[in-house]
C-alpha cells in the first residue's frame, strides 16, 4: 500500500465513521517498513492528518502518535510515547474501555464507540474511536492502530482548517465544480498548488502563476509546451502511464511525479486532477493539480531522525518490555503453572485472569473464564458465603479463609479452600484480588473415606458384638461371679490402671464402680503399702506370678484397711500380658481377730506376770514367816542356854533348871516344826531353793555318821556306815543331809534298845542309791502307801524323840523328787524297814575336775 491508499483511507474513514461502519479492509494494513519511500510519505501523512492517530503494541503501550493527537491532548509527542492508551481515557469510562478492549482481544472485533478522553489540562472530550489490528508478515497481531476522530462537533471545520487545498479541491472536483466556474480563474491563479490545464495529448494550454514560478518559467513560456517537457526524466514514464489511464478512465490517478525546472533541477509533486469536457461531453483535457512536496521531502531528514529516535525508543521500550515481561513471565509462570487454582478478580468479582489449573478444574478454557463473574463458578449453596466474603474483603482488604463449593461447567460441584491476596495499582487503590483455591475434594474424599471406614468399623464392631453376645451369656456367668463375688476383685493393666472392678471392690473403698475404673490402683492403696505394691507389680511383670501379698488399701475417706492380694494374669490371644485380675480379701476381721488374740495373749501375759508377782509375794511371805517365826525363838532358846550356863547368869536350883529345860526342849521342837512347815510350804510352792555343788558322798556319809553318834547313844544303837565307794555327785548337800537325818532319826524312833541302823550309799545304774536300814518294828504293807504323805503318822501314840510333825517323810519325798530322784521303802510289819532313795549320778570324777573351773552357781 502506498501513501495514497492511506490518504484515501483516512478520508474515507472519516466519512465511514459518521456512518458507524467497520472497515475490514484496514486489517490488511502493512508494516511501514515494506517500502522506504511510501513509508516516509506515510509518516508525513500520518503526522499531518487531522484525525488523532496513535499506534500501540499488544500491551496497549503507545509506540507513536501524530501531531493532532499530541496537540489535541496537550502533550508533546515524547510525553505520549510509552504511555498506555488508558492514560488518555477519562477515568469514569476506563472500565468500559477495558471491557471493550478485552472483547476485542477475544473476538478481534472492536466495538467502535464514542470514547470520553481527557486532556492534559483535565478537560474532556468525546470522540468516535476506531481500533484496527496490525499484523506482521506472518499474520501475527503486533498491535493496534487507534484512530480518534477529533471532537465530533467541530469535525468539518477542523478538516477544512487543516487541509484547505485538498479539501477544497476534493469538494470542488466532486461536488462544487459546476457552480465554481465564476470563481475558477481567480482561484486557479491564486491557488498555492501547481495547476496546469492540458489537452488530451498533454500540451499545456494554461497554467497558473504558482506553476510557472515553481518551474522558473513565465506563464507564457509554459503555454504550448508539452507536459513531458516539464517532467523529470525519471517521471516521464509514470506520467505517460497516468495519461494513458486517464484517457481510458477519464480519471486522474493520484501519482507522484517529479517535475523539472527551467534550470534543470527537479522537485517532487503529488499529482491529481480533474477531467475537462466540451459541450458535447467529449473529453478535451484536464486540469492537473500538483502539490509541491519539496518541503515535505526536506522535512524527511527530520522525520527520519525522529523516526530513528522513535525506533530507538521502541527498542528501549522493547527491552524494557522484555525485562518486564521476563519478570512478568516469572510470575505469570508461577501463576499459570501453579497446581492451585488461581484467579484474579475485580472488586466486583469479575475474573481478570485465571490460571490453567483454575480453568481446567472448572472445565472451561482460560479464555472462557476471563470476564465471567466468579459467582458463575460458585455452587449455589456457597454464593451467599462468597458474597459475605467479598463484602468483608472490600471492607477489610483481607481475604479470609473460607471453605466454599465451586461449580464446574457441567454443573458438578466440588469443595475448595479459598485464600488470597489483595491486588493494588501503583496508586495503592484496590484493583482486585488474586485468590488461591485449594481443591478440597481429596480431603473431603478422605473425610468421606474415614466416615466409610468408621461405618465399616462399626459394622465390624456390630459383628464382633454379635459373636461377643454369644460369648457374653457364658461370660455373664463369670461376670456375675466377678460382680457378685464377696471378694474385692479388680482387673488392671500392666501399668496398674483399673480396667474393671466389682461392686464389692468399689463399695469397700467407698466409690462407685465408674469412679474406680480408669484410676490407678495406687490411688486405692495406703501410702504405707505403695512400695510393696510397686515391688509386687515389678515382680509380677517379670514372673507373671501375682503372688500373695498383704497390703493396706485406702478408702475414699482416706481410712485404710488390710487386704490379702492374690490374682491371675490376663493374657491376650497372642499370649502377651495385658493385665491381671486381682482378688483382695478384706483382712480387717482377721486383723481384728489377730488383735483380739494379741490382746488376750497380752492379758494372759499380764495375768501371768501378776501371778508371778503374786508368787514372788508368796515367796516373800514365806521368807517373812520364816523370819518372824524364827526371830522370837532366838532369844527364847538363847536365854534358856544362857540360864543353864552358870558362868553367864549364875547357878539355878534343880527345879529352875528343870523348868528351863522344858522351855528349851519345847522351843527346839517349835523350831523344828517351823522349819518343817516352811520346808513343806516351799516344796508345795516349788519355792525350795537348791544349791547344787559337787559332793563327796563317802565323806558326807562319814560326817553324818559322826554327827549323829550322840543321837544313837541313849538307846545304845548300833549305827553303821557301810559306804565303800568313793562317789562324787552334783547336788545340794544340806538337803541330802536333811533327807538322811530325817530318815535316820525316824529309824531311831522305831528301833528297839540296842537296835541296829545301817546306812550306805552306792552306785546303781546311773543313780546314787542311799539305803537306811533298821531292824525296827517295820511298816505294814497297807500303810506304806501313805507313808510319804503330809501329816501322816504311822503311830500317833508313839513316843517320839524327834520330829513328830508328821511332815518329815513328806519333806524327804519332796526333796528327793525335786533332786530328780525316787524314794521308797521296803518293809513289813515286824521285819524292820529299809528306806531307799536315789539321786542322779550326774558327774563322775573325770568331769569333776573339768567342771570345777566353772562357777557352779550364782544363786
Amino acid at each position: 500500500m502506498n501513501y495514497k491508499t492511506w490518504f484515501n483511507k483516512s478520508t474515507k474513514d472519516v466519512d465511514s465513521l459518521q456512518e458507524q461502519d467497520i472497515h475490514r479492509e484496514d486489517d490488511k494494513l502493512v508494516s511501514p517498513k515494506e517500502n522506504s519511500s511510501p513509508e516516509t510519505r506515510y509518516h508525513l501523512i500520518y503526522d499531518e492528518l487531522p484525525d488523532l492517530l496513535c499506534t500501540v503494541d499488544n500491551n496497549e503501550i503507545i509506540l507513536d502518535c501524530n501531531k493532532s493527537y499530541a496537540k489535541t491532548f496537550g502533550y508533546s509527542k515524547n510525553e505520549i510515547i510509552g504511555k498506555t492508551v488508558f492514560y488518555f481515557i477519562a477515568q469514569e469510562e476506563s472500565k468500559d474501555y477495558e471491557e471493550s478492549f478485552k472483547t476485542w482481544k477475544q473476538t478481534r472485533q472492536f466495538q467502535n464507540r464514542k470514547v470520553l478522553f481527557k486532556r492534559k489540562d483535565g478537560t474532556k472530550f468525546r470522540s468516535p474511536t476506531i481500533v484496527n489490528s496490525l499484523y506482521d508478515k506472518n499474520g501475527t497481531t503486533i498491535g493496534e492502530s487507534i484512530i480518534i476522530k477529533d471532537i465530533v462537533e467541530s469535525q468539518e471545520e477542523t478538516v477544512k482548517n487543516n487541509h484547505p487545498q485538498i479539501q477544497s479541491d476534493q469538494s470542488k472536483s466532486n461536488t462544487h465544480m459546476p457552480n465554481a466556474e465564476k470563481r475558477y480563474t481567480s482561484v486557479y491563479d491564486k491557488t498555492p498548488a501547481l495547476l496546469r490545464t492540458v489537452t488530451i495529448d498533454g500540451t499545456i494550454i494554461e497554467c497558473n502563476k504558482t506553476y510557472a514560478k515553481s518551474l522558473g518559467y513565465t506563464k507564457e513560456e509554459c503555454v504550448g509546451k508539452s507536459i513531458y517537457d516539464h517532467a523529470a526524466a525519471r517521471s516521464i514514464e509514470d506520467l505517460k502511464i497516468n495519461m494513458k489511464n486517464w484517457l481510458k478512465t477519464h480519471e486522474t490517478a493520484r501519482s507522484e511525479i517529479w517535475m523539472k525546472r527551467k534550470d534543470g533541477s527537479i522537485f517532487p509533486t503529488v499529482l491529481n486532477g480533474t477531467s475537462l469536457y466540451d459541450e458535447h461531453k467529449k473529453l478535451v483535457g484536464r486540469t492537473m493539480v500538483m502539490i509541491d512536496m519539496t518541503d515535505v521531502y526536506e522535512s524527511k531528514v527530520r522525520v527520519e531522525e525522529s523516526q530513528k529516535q522513535l525506533q530507538d525508543q521502541v527498542k528501549r521500550l522493547e527491552k524494557l518490555n522484555l525485562r518486564i515481561s521476563l519478570t512478568q513471565q516469572k510470575y505469570k509462570n508461577l501463576y499459570e503453572k501453579s497446581p492451585a487454582m488461581l484467579r484474579s478478580i475485580t472488586t466486583e468479582g469479575t475474573l481478570t485472569d485465571c490460571n490453567e489449573a483454575y480453568a481446567k478444574s472448572l472445565g472451561y478454557t482460560k479464555e472462557e473464564c476471563i470476564g465471567q463473574s466468579f459467582y458463575e463458578h460458585t455452587a449455589d449453596q456457597s454464593i451467599s458465603t462468597l458474597k459475605e466474603n467479598l463484602e468483608s474483603w472490600v471492607n477489610t482488604r483481607e481475604v479470609s479463609q473460607k471453605e466454599i463449593w465451586m461449580k464446574r461447567k457441567d454443573d458438578t460441584i466440588f469443595p475448595v479452600l479459598l485464600t488470597g491476596d489483595t491486588l493494588y495499582d501503583e496508586y495503592g487503590n484496590v484493583t482486585g484480588r488474586t485468590v488461591s483455591l485449594t481443591d478440597m475434594t481429596e480431603i473431603y474424599d478422605t473425610r468421606k473415606k474415614l466416615q466409610e471406614d468408621e461405618i465399616r468399623l462399626k459394622e465390624q464392631y456390630e459383628n464382633l458384638k454379635q459373636s461377643h453376645d454369644l460369648i457374653t451369656s457364658a461370660q455373664q456367668r463369670y461376670k456375675n461371679l466377678y460382680e457378685k463375688s464377696p471378694a474385692m476383685l479388680r482387673s488392671i493393666t500392666t501399668e496398674g490402671t483399673l480396667t474393671d472392678c466389682n461392686e464389692a471392690y468399689a463399695k469397700s473403698l467407698g466409690y462407685t464402680k465408674e469412679e474406680c475404673v480408669g484410676k490407678s490402683m495406687f490411688e486405692h492403696t495406703a501410702e504405707r503399702s505403695v512400695n510393696t505394691l510397686k515391688d509386687n507389680l515389678a515382680n509380677w511383670m517379670n514372673t507373671r506370678d501375682v503372688g500373695h501379698y498383704e497390703i493396706w488399701m485406702k478408702r475414699r475417706d482416706n481410712s485404710i484397711f488390710p487386704v490379702m492380694l492374690t490374682g491371675d494374669t490376663i493374657t491376650d490371644m497372642q499370649g502377651n500380658v495385658v493385665g491381671r485380675t486381682v482378688a483382695l480379701t478384706d483382712m480387717t476381721e482377721i486383723y481384728d481377730a489377730r488383735r483380739k488374740l494379741e490382746e488376750k495373749e497380752s492379758k494372759i501375759r499380764q495375768q501371768y506376770d501378776e501371778l508371778k508377782k503374786l508368787d514372788v509375794a508368796k515367796e516373800e511371805f514365806t521368807s517373812m514367816i520364816s523370819h518372824e517365826l524364827k526371830t522370837p525363838l532366838t532369844p527364847i532358846i538363847g536365854w534358856c542356854q544362857a540360864l543353864k550356863n552358870p558362868k553367864i547368869i549364875g547357878e539355878m536350883s534343880p527345879k529352875q533348871l528343870q523348868a528351863v529345860d522344858a522351855i528349851q526342849s519345847n522351843a527346839l521342837k517349835l523350831k523344828d516344826l517351823v522349819s518343817d512347815m516352811l520346808d513343806t510350804h516351799k516344796l508345795d510352792m516349788k519355792q525350795m531353793k537348791f544349791d547344787h555343788k559337787y559332793i563327796d558322798i563317802s565323806e558326807m556319809m562319814g560326817f553324818l555318821t559322826k554327827n549323829l553318834h550322840s543321837v544313837m547313844e541313849p538307846k545304845h544303837l548300833e549305827f553303821i556306815n557301810s559306804t565303800t565307794e568313793s562317789l562324787v555327785v552334783k547336788s545340794d548337800r544340806s538337803r541330802l543331809e536333811q533327807v538322811l537325818n530325817n530318815i535316820i532319826l525316824n529309824a531311831v524312833d522305831f528301833v528297839p534298845e540296842k537296835g541296829r541302823i545301817e546306812v550306805r550309799a552306792e552306785t546303781k545304774d546311773d543313780q546314787v542309791q542311799f539305803m537306811i536300814k533298821d531292824n525296827g518294828i517295820g511298816i505294814p504293807k497297807e500303810k506304806q502307801q501313805n507313808l510319804f504323805k503330809q501329816f501322816y503318822q504311822l503311830d500317833t501314840s508313839a513316843t517320839r524323840k524327834h520330829g513328830g510333825s508328821g511332815l518329815g517323810l513328806a519333806i524327804c519325798k519332796g526333796i528327793v523328787e525335786a533332786l530328780e530322784g525316787k524314794i521308797w521303802v521296803d518293809s513289813d510289819a515286824g521285819k524292820g524297814s529299809t528306806f531307799y532313795f536315789t539321786i542322779p549320778l550326774e558327774a563322775n570324777l573325770d568331769t569333776l575336775s573339768m567342771e570345777e573351773k566353772v562357777p557352779v552357781s550364782n544363786r
Binding site: S623, H627, T631, T634, Q641, A642, I648, S857, N858, R859
Partner: protein, 122 residues
Amino acid sequence: MKVLGIDDNSDINSLLGTVLIASGHQFISVTDGREGIKLLKQNPYDIVLLDLAMPEFSGFDVLETLKKEGLIEKQKIILLTASSITDQEIDDLLKTGISSYLRKPLDIDVFLERVEQVYNDK
C-alpha cells in the same frame, strides 16, 4: 574385845550383850542400821554383829553403805540371820568381805566360839 550389835530386836541384843559381857567383852548395841554406821564412822569395833532382816534400813543397806564409805575392809562382820537365805547366798556374801555368819535361832556356845574365832583371825 569391843563388839557392836546391830539388830532391830532389842531382846536379842541384850542376850548377846549378856553373853559377851559375861565372857569379858565390851558390847554396844543399836536397833537401827544408820545409827550403827554413825558409830562405826566414829570408832572402829573389833567385831560387828549384823542382823540382815531389819525394817527401813536393812543389813544389806548397812553393808552397801560401809562399802561405799570404804569401811567394810577394816571391819570384821558376823552376819546373823533368821531369813530363809540359802548357803549359796551366804557364800556370796562372804566373798564380799564378811567374816562369818550364824543362823538364828543361835546356839550360845556356837556363837561365843565363832566370835572368838573371828576375833583371833587375822
